[in-house]
C-alpha cells in the first residue's frame, strides 16, 4: 500500500496522475453523454411534434370526411340528384341465389361507346340545371390546419 502511494513517474505521484486521469475521463464522459443525449432528445422532440401535427391533420381530415359523408347529406344528394331510393326486397339477392341469373345468351362483343351528345335544350332545361346545382361541389367546413413548427 505504501509503495503504491510513494511510486512516482517523472516526479509526479502515480496515484495523483491516475486520479487526474479518472477525473478528466469522467468530465469528458459526462460532457459527451449530455451532448449526445441532447441531440437525441431534440430529434425525439422533433419527431413527436411531427406525429402530433400529423395526428391533428388526420383528425381534421376525418372530421371533414365524416361531415361530407353524413348520411342525411348523402341521402339528399342521392335522392335529389340521382333519384335514388332505399332498395326494396326485390332488389336484394343472396349469394347462393346468384345461379338463377346465370347467362342465357353469349355476351355481345364490346363496342366503343360513343360520347354522349347533349342537345342545347337538355343542358338548359331547368331540371338538369337543378340536378347539377344539387350535385355540385360542397364547401368544406374544416380547412387544413396552419400548424407552425414549435
Amino acid at each position: 500500500m505504501t509503495g503504491f502511494f510513494d511510486r512516482r513517474w517523472r516526479g509526479f505521484r502515480v496515484v495523483n496522475l491516475v486520479g487526474w486521469g479518472l477525473l478528466a475521463a469522467m468530465i469528458l464522459g459526462v460532457y459527451l453523454a449530455k451532448t449526445m443525449a441532447w441531440g437525441e432528445r431534440n430529434q425525439i422532440a422533433s419527431v413527436e411534434i411531427q406525429i402530433r401535427q400529423e395526428k391533428l391533420r388526420i383528425r381534421l381530415l376525418e372530421a371533414e370526411v365524416a361531415h361530407l359523408e353524413q348520411p342525411r347529406r348523402l341521402e339528399a344528394l342521392s335522392a335529389g340528384a340521382l333519384g335514388m331510393a332505399p332498395i326494396g326486397p326485390k332488389q336484394e339477392i343472396a349469394l347462393d341465389d346468384l345461379h338463377r341469373f346465370e347467362r342465357q345468351k353469349p355476351i355481345p362483343a364490346p363496342t366503343l361507346a360513343e360520347p354522349p351528345v347533349f342537345a342545347q335544350a337538355d343542358v338548359g332545361a331547368p331540371g338538369v340545371a337543378a340536378k347539377i346545382a344539387v350535385a355540385g361541389p360542397v364547401t368544406t367546413q374544416f380547412a387544413a390546419p396552419q400548424v407552425t413548427q414549435q
Binding site: 464522459g29 353524413q70 348520411p71
Partner: protein, 582 residues
C-alpha cells in the same frame, strides 16, 4: 499534560465540566499525534481519497442518468395537454361522431390599431357572426380585449392575411360534431370548458376525459348506418303525419346495446344554444308516455308466465267491463268470445283487464318491478326519466295499466321490458357503450324461456293477422304490437290527440337465444291523412314506418332476408295450436 485552566475548583460543577470538555477538545490533536503510528496519516489520506472517489463516482452516475433519461416524455407524447381536452366519440364501427378540433380566439389590442374604422369594417366582412358592439368596444378600449372565439383555421388565415396591426390569436380547442343533427340526442353536447352537458357526452364524461389523456377514442353502441335509416324513415313518417314529436329506438335484446336512437325534432349540437328547447328534449329518455296497447305484451306474457291463463283460455268480451265507475270498452270488432292469441290480435282491452284482475295487484306489480317499469330505465344517460306511477294499485288502476293507461313510462323502459319478453325472459339493462362480441351482460330472469318463445309467436301472429299487419317486412319475420292512447289534456281525455306506437321484435322466428332486435316507433299526436282513411292509430302510422325501417336495417344488422314462405302464417298458427309452449 497539565489540567484544564478553565476549570478551577471554585467554579460550579457545570462550568468545570464545560471547561474540561473544551480543554480536551483543544488538545485532542496533540494527543492523537503523540499516540499515532507513522502510517496513520497515509491511511487517513487513503480513506479520504476513497470517500471522495466514491462520491464522484455516484455523482457521475447520477449526472449521466439525468443527462440520458431525464425529461418529461409526456411533453411530446402527441396527446392533448389541455385540461379541457375530450376524446373522440365513435360509433361501434369507428365512424367519427364527435371530436376536438383546433380553433382560435381573436384578440384586439387597441393601442396598436392605427385605423379603427378600417379594422372594424375588415373584421366585420370576414366575421359576420362577430358582435359589432363587442368589436367596437374592443377597438376603442384601452387594453387588449377578447373579440370572438371558435374561429376556424380558414378564418384565422383570412384575418391574418389582412396584415392589420393589433390583432392576435390564441388557441381555442372546440368540440365539433361533424354529423350535424344525426344522432344528436344520443351523442349530446359539451360546453366550451370541456364538460359534457347532455347525451353520451355527459353520460361518459369521465371516460371521454380519461381517453383524451392517452389520445384514444370512446366507442358507443350506436351503429351509424342503422341510425341513419331510422332517422330517415322516422322523419318521413313525422312529416307525413305532421306529428308533435316522434321516437325511434333500436336495441339488441340480448346485450341491451342501443344501436339507434332518434328523437324528432332534433337539433344541431354544434349550436345547441340556438336550438329550439322543444327540439332539445330527448323524447326517448326524458319523456314518459301512457303507451296504450303495447303494454298488452307485458299483460299477456305475465298471464302466461304466472299460469293464470293458457293459450286456449277464452274471454267473454261481448259486453263492456264495469269496475266501479269505470267502464272498459273494446274497439268494436263485433267480438263475443276471444281466445288468448286473439286477445292480442284484436287488442282487446276487456280481456287484458280480465287477465290483470285474475293475476291480482301483487303479481302484476311484481312483474312490472322486475321489468324495470317502476324506475328510470337503467342506462348511462342522465336524461333517463322516472315513470309516472299510480299511488294505489286499485282494481281500476290494475285494469287500466293492463292496456297501457294509468302508468306512464319512457320509451327506454318499454324497450328494456320488451327485450326481456323477446330474449328468453332475461331483463338486461340498456347501454350506450359498445359491448364486445361474446360478452354476455348480466341480467335477471323475469319470464321462463317457454313464455318468451310463445310470446314471440304471438307477436309474429299479430303482424301476420292482427293490428300490426302494415309492419311486416318481407323475409325478416317481424313480430310486434300496436299501441294507440288518447292523451289527457288539462285533465280531460282529448280523443283527437293520440300517442300511436308500434313495438316490434325482429326476427320473431327462431329460438329465444337467436340474434334478435327490438324496434319502437312512437308518434306523439299524429294527424290522419287521406291515405290512412282518417285513422291516426299505431297500426296506420307507426306500424308502416316500422316495417320500412326493419326492411332497411335488417341487412345492415347482418340478418339474412328469408324467402317469404306461403305457409308462414300457417306455420305460426300450427306451432301455437300444437300446445307445445303453453
Amino acid at each position: 499534560m497539565t489540567g484544564p485552566v478553565f476549570a478551577p475548583a471554585r467554579l460550579p460543577l457545570a462550568w468545570r465540566w464545560l471547561g474540561s470538555w473544551v480543554w480536551r477538545l483543544e488538545h485532542a490533536f496533540e494527543r492523537a499525534r503523540a499516540a499515532a503510528s507513522p502510517h496513520d496519516s497515509r491511511r487517513r489520506i487513503a480513506l479520504v481519497m476513497i470517500a471522495f472517489g466514491l462520491a464522484f463516482f455516484v455523482m457521475g452516475i447520477g449526472a449521466t442518468h439525468q443527462a440520458l433519461f431525464s425529461g418529461n416524455s409526456a411533453e411530446f407524447s402527441g396527446a392533448s395537454a389541455s385540461p379541457y381536452a375530450r376524446a373522440a366519440l365513435t360509433d361501434r364501427n369507428g365512424a367519427l361522431l364527435a371530436v376536438d378540433l383546433p380553433h382560435y380566439q381573436l384578440y384586439v389590442d387597441p393601442r396598436e390599431v392605427w385605423d379603427v374604422q378600417g379594422t372594424q369594417q375588415a373584421l366585420a366582412a370576414i366575421l359576420p357572426q362577430a358582435q359589432a358592439k363587442r368589436l367596437n368596444k374592443a377597438l376603442t378600449g384601452t387594453k387588449r380585449a377578447f373579440v370572438i372565439g371558435g374561429l376556424t383555421p380558414d378564418q384565422r388565415t383570412a384575418i391574418h392575411d389582412l396584415g392589420l396591426p393589433g390583432l392576435s390569436f390564441e388557441d381555442d380547442e372546440r368540440r365539433v360534431y361533424p354529423l350535424g343533427n344525426t344522432a344528436s340526442h344520443l351523442i349530446g353536447f359539451s360546453d366550451s370548458a370541456g364538460s359534457g352537458l347532455a347525451g353520451a357526452e355527459k353520460a361518459l364524461d369521465a371516460d371521454v376525459r380519461k381517453a383524451a389523456v392517452t389520445g384514444g377514442s370512446v366507442p358507443l353502441s350506436l351503429d351509424l348506418r342503422v341510425q341513419a335509416a331510422l332517422e330517415d324513415e322516422l322523419r318521413k313518417a313525422a312529416n307525413q303525419f305532421t306529428v308533435r314529436g316522434a321516437v325511434g329506438l333500436i336495441t339488441d335484446v340480448h346485450t341491451g346495446e342501443i344501436l339507434a336512437l332518434a328523437s324528432y325534432p332534433d337539433f344541431d349540437p354544434n349550436n345547441a344554444g340556438a336550438a329550439d328547447p322543444n327540439a332539445l328534449v330527448n323524447r326517448v329518455a326524458q319523456s314518459v308516455f301512457e303507451m296504450g296497447s303495447t303494454f298488452k305484451i307485458f299483460t299477456v306474457a305475465q298471464g302466461l308466465d304466472s299460469g293464470t291463463v293458457r293459450l286456449n283460455s277464452t274471454f267473454d268480451v261481448s259486453h263492456p267491463l264495469t269496475i266501479g265507475t269505470q267502464t272498459i270498452h273494446d274497439y268494436d270488432k263485433g267480438d263475443t268470445t276471444l281466445d288468448l292469441p286473439h286477445v292480442l290480435l284484436h287488442s282487446s282491452n276487456i280481456a287484458a283487464a280480465k287477465i290483470a284482475l285474475a293475476m291480482g295487484a301483487d303479481t302484476v306489480t311484481g312483474y312490472y318491478r322486475n321489468l324495470g317499469l317502476f324506475g328510470s330505465a337503467p342506462v348511462e344517460l342522465a336524461e333517463s326519466a322516472r315513470p309516472l306511477l299510480p299511488q294505489k294499485w286499485s282494481q281500476n288502476v290494475l285494469a287500466s295499466a293492463s292496456f297501457g293507461n294509468a302508468i306512464a313510462v319512457s320509451p327506454l323502459a318499454v324497450a328494456a321490458g320488451t327485450a326481456a319478453v323477446a330474449n328468453g325472459g332475461t331483463y338486461v339493462p340498456l347501454t350506450i357503450r359498445k359491448v364486445e362480441p361474446g360478452h354476455e351482460p348480466k341480467g335477471r330472469r323475469v319470464f321462463s324461456p317457454q313464455t318468451s318463445q310463445t310470446m314471440l309467436r304471438l307477436l309474429r301472429m299479430n303482424v301476420l293477422e292482427g293490428t300490426g299487419g302494415k309492419a311486416d317486412a318481407p323475409g325478416f319475420s317481424v313480430g310486434g304490437k300496436t299501441g294507440s292512447n288518447e292523451k289527457v289534456v288539462a285533465g280531460r281525455i282529448d280523443r283527437n290527440k293520440l300517442v300511436s306506437s308500434f313495438a316490434a321484435v325482429f326476427p320473431a322466428d327462431g329460438p329465444p337465444e337467436a340474434k334478435r332486435y327490438f324496434l319502437l316507433v312512437l308518434m306523439d299526436e299524429p294527424h290522419a291523412t287521406k291515405e290512412t282513411y282518417g285513422f291516426a292509430t299505431g297500426g296506420w302510422t307507426a306500424a308502416p314506418a316500422a316495417g320500412r325501417i326493419v326492411s332497411r336495417v335488417g341487412p345492415l344488422l347482418g340478418l339474412k332476408r328469408a324467402p317469404v314462405a306461403a305457409t308462414d302464417k300457417a306455420t305460426v298458427e300450427a306451432a301455437l295450436a300444437s300446445g307445445e309452449d303453453h
